[in-house]
Symmetry: C2
């Protein structure tokens, strides 16, 4: 793969406790595939400072771009901004530009910009803000890390603000060939085909339906012509 790589850090007790089923990761994965950026790793961690700091450092070192979701609201469990400042050795305080955005938003709504809300203007000193068209409180970019909200509607809006600024590769094309035979029957010829097309990735995802075994063979790659060729070979092999 020559496409740029990305990782995601989900900061969310609510997913680890089984209360909520992830939505942001699945959304981001689809968006990145279209943009030609390879999502290579995702980590989901609890609202704990050391784990967040160490995880974001590791992912930032290992991949071209990192996205985080969660923990940038006004409540006591929102510690992401402070963790990012610690991870990248930057000072953090209420920043005038972020405060102005919040002030304008709450003035319009006739709501008080109290101490809790002002926490959302705490931004590491060298970070660039990410626009939040839904509820104003900005995300931010620190080094190669894009720090975004956990609320799905806000997360989506921030992804839309950020994605056009990233350099992607050719979009990842994905085609699926369904075989109504057990994986054990197709594994041999499939392995040979996978070796014959090193420029494509071929994954086999077995299923059981009405008591019968089958597998979805998913072929992924950037070269549409090569993909068509491989799909034709799959058709011949498993007709």
């Amino acid at each position: 793969m020559t496409n740029p790589t990305a990782a995601m850090l989900v900061i969310g007790d609510e997913i680890l406790s089984g209360r909520t089923r992830d939505a942001n990761m699945h959304y981001l994965a689809g968006q990145l595939a279209e943009a030609g950026i390879t999502l290579a790793e995702v980590r989901i961690v609890a609202d704990e400072r050391d784990v967040i700091v160490n995880s974001v450092r590791a992912l930032s070192d290992a991949y071209d771009t990192v996205f985080t979701s969660g923990g940038i609201g006004p409540t006591h469990d929102d510690i992401t901004a402070d963790c990012m400042a610690a991870a990248f050795h930057q000072r953090i305080d209420v920043r005038d530009d972020a405060r102005a955005i919040l002030q304008a938003h709450y003035d319009k709504a006739g709501t008080d910009l109290n101490e809790a809300r002002l926490r959302m203007a705490r931004i590491p000193e060298n970070a660039a803000l990410i626009e939040n068209p839904v509820s104003a409180a900005p995300g931010f970019i620190i080094e190669n890390v894009h720090v975004m909200a956990g609320v799905p509607s806000v997360f989506k809006a921030m992804v839309a603000s950020v994605l056009p600024t990233l350099t992607g590769g050719a979009p990842l094309i994905s085609k699926t060939f369904t075989v109504h035979r057990g994986e054990g029957d197709i594994a041999g010829p499939l392995g040979a085909l996978a070796q014959a097309y090193p420029g494509l990735s071929m994954g086999s995802y077995p299923f059981q339906r009405d008591g019968k075994y089958g597998a979805n063979i998913v072929v992924r790659g950037q070269d549409a012509a090569l993909l068509d060729e491989a799909m034709a070979k799959l058709g011949e092999a498993f007709a």
Copy 2:
């Protein structure tokens, strides 16, 4: 938290590419919460040897128990068993006990135990097998790592085989208090309450519904009486 900790390693290109939305992680999270085991971290990685080996080592060191899902089928992209053997410095080959299980299963079905299917009997030398009542091919336990299938029906069956063997703590009880006010309005008193109950965790999960802001305050802990007390205080604070 005094409960034992767990982590999960999901081996799955299909989730990272956005093709499939995770189901196993969500299922395991719920089961562990009931069993009184704290799911502390999840990592989702691609079918790449080095990343799998390094991730499972890191998680095995950091947490009491690790669960993996995916990559133990018969096709070329199923490399989990070999990665586990490498991570824990064990030899791996087709094992007689696993082969016997597969032989019996395929004999009954009148299916050939070919070379590809035999790959599923490759088990690290010191691992204990995990029963697979759905499709026979076993998972295994190596050190503190439980290696299980990615197909959701098989994953669930293996979790059922494994969970009773693990020592959990008191089940995690979780209660939700919904406030129809913005997080910025409740953050102050909520932070004070969270400090007053260090034995409980209080998370705030904001939402927007019909254009109005609100938050679900989720209180989690093992002590039911303490939880009831905290819920009553929340009622007083946000009546």
